[in-house]
Point group: C2
Chain length 315, copies 2
Amino acid sequence: MVTLKDLAKEVGVSVATVSRVLNNSGYASPEMRKRVMQAAERMNYKPNEVARALNTSRSNIIGVLVPDISNPYFPKVIRGIEDEAIKNNYRILIGNTDHDFDKESKYLEIFNQNNCAGIISATWTVTRQDNLTTRPVVLLDRVVKEHISIEADNLKGGKLQAHHLIQQGVHHVLLIKGLEDYSSFENRTLGSREVLGENQVPYEILSHTALNGTLESGDIAFLEKFDGIICPNDLVAYRVLNVLINHGVSVPDQVKVIGYDNLDFSQYVYPSLTTIEQPIYQLGRNAFKMLMKMNQGIEVESEVLDVKLIKRNST
Amino acid sequence: MVTLKDLAKEVGVSVATVSRVLNNSGYASPEMRKRVMQAAERMNYKPNEVARALNTSRSNIIGVLVPDISNPYFPKVIRGIEDEAIKNNYRILIGNTDHDFDKESKYLEIFNQNNCAGIISATWTVTRQDNLTTRPVVLLDRVVKEHISIEADNLKGGKLQAHHLIQQGVHHVLLIKGLEDYSSFENRTLGSREVLGENQVPYEILSHTALNGTLESGDIAFLEKFDGIICPNDLVAYRVLNVLINHGVSVPDQVKVIGYDNLDFSQYVYPSLTTIEQPIYQLGRNAFKMLMKMNQGIEVESEVLDVKLIKRNST
């Protein structure tokens, strides 16, 4: 093991000078920099984490992929991951993919270059074939065949949404779908449809792509056809509430609206939002714990956490 | 320049095998891994970004430090930085410091190890002495002596808050301070106090530390003493509104509340929040552009963007 002292002796300068160059922390002339770097290379000195990472061991960094950091769901997940990571002397690198496969690939490259100890991803679609990485991966809120994942029971959550609206006496439901290809949204829709079907409550489905058009045009005639609206997440519910209220539609008297996630803001919107609570922070913490076990070669099974209804004033 | 092919020839294996080892992407025996890595080192092969970074050039990664990713202000700043970064073929590493100096130091280490091309920081306090990095730094929403920074006019914003409440006829104002030591909050308070003083409107100041106690205890007798409340940001305003409304205090009739930031959610809360709009996304974009100029050796001056009042139903 070559030490800083060995290196300083070889170059014929002080340990402080060598340290400044290697840590890139303070002045050193280009000439001095070159001499020290060449000696470091020649003597196979490993100055830092990056060098250690190159040396085939894994770094104490994990990569986290989220589709959209602007949705407060993800910062909360990230806090769960990060708090647990810090406790274990790990750090996280966050990649925001914007549902864009190219961006995701770039971040996976960066994770490889940093020799990340593993990856927690909330970006993998159900049709995903290629791993793009040989590192341990835990999928968060996404279930993809042959992968370890953690989610909060999306099927149950979708059922709870429909059950609650039916209990509140709705007769005609609009079921707004989330982004296609994510298992979480698929299962929520599946759960809601199952319960609506069993109870013979007629419903229409609005696709994620059609949603923006409906809300931006404020197509109130369309929305008013229903007395219950099931939203794929709280963010969509905020926008739906906003369009309804701005057009003088009474919520919950005329239309009842239910969200999904229970973001912190859902208690503050008007009317305060009935929603399904996911243990968001816990999902992040557990995902990190699972990843650490996988790294230690301990066998890990996919986890499903519980969800519950939070009744507020929008239903 | 040593190529993969040179390396494969030297080790006596296929290019695919060498690539698998160097990119850590697929199976290679420990023995094979060792042979390839040793040859790579011997021939001074630079397999990837990390190796390039070690070789003294800067990587195409920039580090971003935020105090609290749960405040939607920061994800929006990050989107601005990231969108501009991607356009320029850069990537960002995000560090969430939680106002914790140790966490921040750790992230600065990671940024050094990744040989980041520069750092955008929203975490530096006014009393900050030590840089901890020799890389170019742009401070965002923070002004610290002898550093390049970008902010939206906090002094003006604070003045606008007070002006608006006075115009709405308030007679006794509660001025809630933001976290100490951040220039942005200091300047907002300064602006508000100046205008309140000029107009001889009496006011009391509630420190950031005292705020939680007041809100958690729901000390409504204290809050009701005032007919106007100036909040340091929208998140605080949401909580203040919530306590007031839950205690049957009429907003804006009895108490008028004004926020700061204009987060997306501020149009959805009840009552919808009057606030000061910062060009949050633009702050992020410009910060990245400034950093790129600094990297090119172009002289850069600190920037101050404009803010404006958004009038809604809470005043």
